[in-house]
Each structure stands twice: as structure tokens, then as C-alpha cells.
Symmetry: C2
Subunit: 357 residues, 2 copies
């Protein structure tokens, strides 16, 4: 168990690391960031930072020596990096959770192995396998690289008429999966925290709207009955427990038109769809993650208000003056507002006098 004054290392220096650092401070815990990009947003709220490649073993060893535990803000941490660090200091969530969730095929296999349902999928390792998979799963379907995809990157929609050779080319001829296209009623997610003692604390189920493959908004509570909510939370808790997970984990699910729940994706980290917990819960997803990896007791996940979180994407951040008047603004300190880049978010609490401003 970490004690006040101890330090947590975070791999990655983006907005999730930044919000983790802000949550660690009130617990008296210091944050050190390891990130290859200079001037990363999290550097400016951390006790220390290292700018180096994830393959720089000298830099990694020095980083490990400064901290009591290492965690990460993104699931694409190279396995060799995690293994190198884990020889020196605990890495949480553990290497197994990382290995499973950074590969779409192993992730979907795992989900099905523990008795939960996913959309149909087949592995695609070459152009011929793609032809066979499309024949089996039909069109429309979605070709996704097994590794390194996010915000719609590394994906190709297979529609009636799509040339399969071109699709295979477009994702870079990498190991991939083909997923059956699932008509769904809504997309939901469940954020759960699991402590080192195995305690699981779930946040309320929230509902997500994506635009251009990027999360646009999250609404809580989701328009879902109590029974389905209970099942969704039970699914997320099962995933966390079977992964022997420590930290916050996000599970994205599709709610079918018949009310069925299919697990779409697992993210072994704090997650964009949990940002509303900063304002609507006593203990946010960020504080829960810090508490979990520090070996502390988890905080309360209870929600005290309904909330809507909207992402601020690219040039939308130019309207910060107007935004600062209408809700709880959270800007990430990114210097350049490139198209599609998440620059911040804003949360509005409903039916509560304490809304900002």
C-alpha cells in the first residue's frame, strides 16, 4: 500500500494522465509521467516527467526507480515496456490485462470464454481469409486491425460493393478481425474499479453517442431498465474479476433492439465515457483508479446528479469563453486544436442548483 508522499508513475502524458495526476494530489500522492512527446499536457501538473521512447531501457529504469507503482493511460503500451518495468516495480493493471485488451482477437476470445456475448467475429490474417470471413459474417461488417486502433483508426467498413482487396490494403494488410455489423438500439458503457483486495465498485451505466467514430457525448443515467443495468454492471464486474484486474476498467456494450447486451470493447484504463464522474460522483473514475493502484480502499461510486458530458473536439475549443459560462469546463492544455483532436470536455449536471456557472 502506497503512503502519502509516495509516487505513482504513469505511461502516457495526455488528458487521462493529466486528470489522474489532478486526482492523485489530494491523496498526497505524487505523479511522474513517462511520455515520448515533449510538452505533454500531463507534464504541467506532475511532480516529474521523462521524455523518452518506450523502448529506452535506461530511461525506463530511472523512471521505475522514482516510483512505487506504474500505471498507464493507454492500452497500447508495448508488451516489452510493461515487462521491463514489471521486473522493477508493480505495473497495474497487470501485464495479462494489457496483453488481452490490446489485441482485439484475444479480447473477444476472452469475453466469450468467460460466458459473455460479443458481436460475431472472425480472424483475418490475409486477403483470402477476409474473403472467407465476409462470406461467413455477411455485409455490412467491419474490418478492424487487431492492434493499435482507436477513434475509428485502423478500421474499414465492408458494405455491399466494397472491394475487399482495397479494404485489406486500407488497413495496411495487418492482422485483423472482421466483426459482424450489429444493429443496436444504443451504446452504453460501464466503468468499474477493482481494488487490490478484489473489491469491485461500479459507476452507474451511461449512454454514449459517437460521431465520426469519436465519442461526442455521454449521458447518465442511460435509458435502460434496472434489470438490464444490473446485468451490464455484472458483466463489467465479471470481466474485471476474471482479468484479476486492479484499477478502473471501461466496458463498452451494444444494447440490441431486443434488449440483448453485446460486449463491444474493453479499455484497461480510465475512459472518456467516465469523465462525468468528476462532477456527478463523490469519487471520480480518476480517484478510484489512483486508489486502486495505490492499494487504498476504493471510494464511493454513488452518483449524486444526472449528467451530460460533451467532448470538445478540434476547433470547438475556440468557443471556450462561451463554454466557460455553461457548465463544468475541462480543458486539456493542448496547444494545437487539430481536427478530430479531443481538446477538452464539458459536463452539465441536471436538476441541481450547483451547476456552473
Amino acid at each position: 500500500m502506497l503512503k502519502p508522499g509516495d509516487a505513482i508513475g504513469i505511461l502516457g502524458g495526455g488528458q487521462l494522465a493529466r486528470m489522474l495526476a489532478l486526482a492523485a494530489a489530494p491523496l498526497g500522492l505524487d505523479i511522474h509521467i513517462f511520455c515520448p512527446e515533449p510538452d505533454s499536457p500531463a507534464f504541467r501538473v506532475a511532480a516529474g516527467h521523462v521524455i523518452a521512447s518506450y523502448s529506452d531501457e535506461k530511461a525506463l529504469a530511472e523512471f521505475a526507480a522514482q516510483v512505487s507503482v506504474v500505471t498507464y493511460e493507454f492500452e497500447n503500451v508495448p508488451a516489452a515496456t510493461a515487462a521491463f518495468l514489471a521486473q522493477r516495480v508493480p505495473v497495474l493493471p497487470g501485464p495479462r490485462a494489457l496483453a488481452i485488451t490490446q489485441d482485439r482477437l484475444s479480447e473477444k476470445n476472452f469475453i466469450n470464454e468467460i460466458g459473455l456475448a460479443t458481436p460475431g467475429y472472425l480472424p483475418v490474417d490475409d486477403a483470402d481469409m477476409l474473403v472467407e470471413a465476409v462470406a461467413a459474417l455477411g455485409r455490412p461488417s467491419v474490418l478492424k486491425t487487431r492492434r493499435m486502433g482507436y477513434d475509428g483508426k485502423g478500421q474499414a467498413m465492408i458494405r455491399p460493393g466494397t472491394d475487399l482487396a482495397e479494404a485489406w490494403q486500407s488497413i495496411g494488410r495487418q492482422p485483423a478481425i472482421l466483426e459482424a455489423f450489429v444493429p443496436f438500439e444504443r451504446e452504453i458503457s460501464v466503468l468499474v474499479a477493482r481494488g487490490q483486495d478484489g473489491t469491485v465498485a461500479a459507476f452507474d451505466v451511461c449512454e454514449n453517442v459517437h460521431r465520426h467514430h469519436i465519442l461526442a457525448s455521454t449521458l447518465v443515467p442511460a435509458a435502460l431498465g434496472p434489470a438490464a443495468s444490473h446485468v451490464a454492471i455484472e458483466h463489467a464486474a465479471r470481466i474485471a474479476t476474471r482479468l484479476d484486474y486492479v484499477g478502473v476498467l471501461a466496458v463498452e456494450l451494444f444494447v440490441g433492439t431486443d434488449g440483448s447486451l453485446l460486449v463491444n470493447e474493453i479499455a484497461p484504463r480510465v475512459h472518456n465515457t467516465g469523465h462525468w464522474t468528476l462532477e456527478a460522483c463523490a469519487c471520480s473514475q480518476f480517484e478510484q483508479h489512483i486508489r486502486a493502484v495505490a492499494g487504498w480502499p476504493l471510494g464511493a461510486s454513488h452518483r449524486h446528479a444526472d449528467a451530460v458530458m460533451e467532448n470538445i473536439i478540434g476547433a470547438e475549443a475556440d468557443a471556450w469563453q462561451a463554454l466557460a459560462k455553461t457548465g463544468a469546463l475541462n480543458l486539456y492544455g493542448k496547444k494545437q486544436a487539430r481536427p478530430g483532436r479531443k481538446m477538452g470536455h464539458i459536463t452539465r449536471l441536471k436538476g441541481q442548483k450547483g451547476n456552473k456557472p
Copy 2:
């Protein structure tokens, strides 16, 4: 008006600067700290820091060049430091508010000049003036240095039998005031924010309990009728307006046994008695102060829960494990738990499911 990416400089690197830095980050504003003490708590959550004396003009000039505005976490900023910085960059709250509030005599004169009441007081510049003042104000009364007093330091109680020469010696024969002792029903404080456009936003009146001259706990709402609460807030707003103040200001008042309100002290900064706003209000005192000095619109001061804040003093911080289970813990990252030192605080919200853990 500062824009996201701009930097605010803070003089002082203690817990107040630390909590200001944590509030600035979500607004996309960077914080630079200037503080003579190495390893200050605020350094570890700031984009940059300077360790130098407040009289080091070279260091001050470099600091001023890095930031768009300078504010401070303590009222004892040397006048020469504030003046030197103010030639280079706006210093907020302004030098006049600082000059008035860092001298107990000028502060009490100011309060009376704007039509508000204080306990009786007389200036004491030498031993003879002390004898005369005690004759006029009676015993018990309190001898206080005009400058640099806090947490009971620089004070001597004049009781029946107290040797006046010894009392004068005990406070270091410095310019002082003698204050009449006021029997009071309770101590309250009002935190108000005033924006650059003159808008005033007040937090609800809270009630304070001191032990050994150090704040022990703050309770909100105060046990005060709506009329008296209204008057207390009006007093604080008048002080802020007449000082042409920008930022958060704390006004401590005594509530007499007859219900009368006497202004005890003004602090030109965020204040220990406003820490409950972190959990109980949408926009905390720290965010309000940052918004004000940045020239942004103020946030909402509405309170959404009743709260009790307790300070964690000295060795009480050793119980952090138990404390982490019972409320919203806020530790300040101080390495040594000296007796009387504020190490952190804990806030418990009442009647709200979302309480931690």
C-alpha cells in the same frame, strides 16, 4: 482576459497555492510558483517553479516574464515585491488590498471607514501606549502585532494580572494594536469572489471552531438566521467592492450574544474556512479565484450539500488510512508533520449518498 494556455504566477507554494493549481488545470491555465522554500507542496502540481527570495529582483523579473498575471496565497507578500512585479505584470488582488489587509491597524481603520463594525481597538507603538490602551479597553483584551501574525502567532492575551511590560516584550516590541475582548456566540466567515467586471459571488456563510488559535473545523450552513446571513454576506461584498478587489476574499466575523456582527479579520486570498467549497459547490473558492484573476466570468457559488470540514493537524495525519475511508481526504503533500502544522483536511457531506467512501 487570459486564454487557455496562458500562465498564472502564484507567490507562495503551500497548500493554498497547491489547491489553486489543481483548480486552474481544468480551465487550461498553467501555474508557475514562486517560493523561497525548496520542495514546496505546490511545486509538484505546477508547470514551473522558482525557488528564490521575495527580494531577488532578477528571479522576480524572470518569473514575471513567464506569466500573464500574478496572485498570491498569503497576505504577507512584501510590499516591495508586489510593487516590483506590478510594474511588469498585473498583480491581483491589487497592491492596495494587500497593503490594507497586511496591517491590522489599517485593516480595522478601513473596515470602520466603510461603515462596518469591529471590536474596539487602539494602536500600540510602545509600552506606554499599551498601558493607556489597556486602561481604555479593559481586561481581558488582546495585544496583536500589526503585521505578520497568523494562527495565534504575534499575539498576547492581556488578562487581569498580566504584566504589561512582559506582554509587550513577548510580541517583540513591534507596532501592534490592542483589541477589546469580545464575548461572542460564534465565529463565522464569508468567502466572496469578485470578478474583474465587479460581479460579486458569495458562498454561503459558514461557522468556524478554532482550537489553540488554529482552525479546527468549519460547518456549513452556519447556525444563523437568513437575515443575519444576508447581512454578513452584504458586509463581505461591501469590503470586496470598496477595496476594488479581484479574486476571492475571506471575511471572519464574530456573532455577538445579541446577534450583532463584528468584522474580525479580512484575508485577501482563498482561505481555510472555504475548503468545503471543493466538495459542496459546483465551483470551489479555488476555481473562483482563478477565474477572477484570469478575467473570466465567475462560476456558480451555489452550495448543493451541507458539509463539515475538519483540519488534519500535525500527527493527526498519521491516521490517513482511517481518514481515507470516512470522507473526502485532501492531503497537502507536506513531508514533515510538525505539531500545529496543517497537513490536510477532510470534508464530509451530509445527507448525500455521494459521500466518500
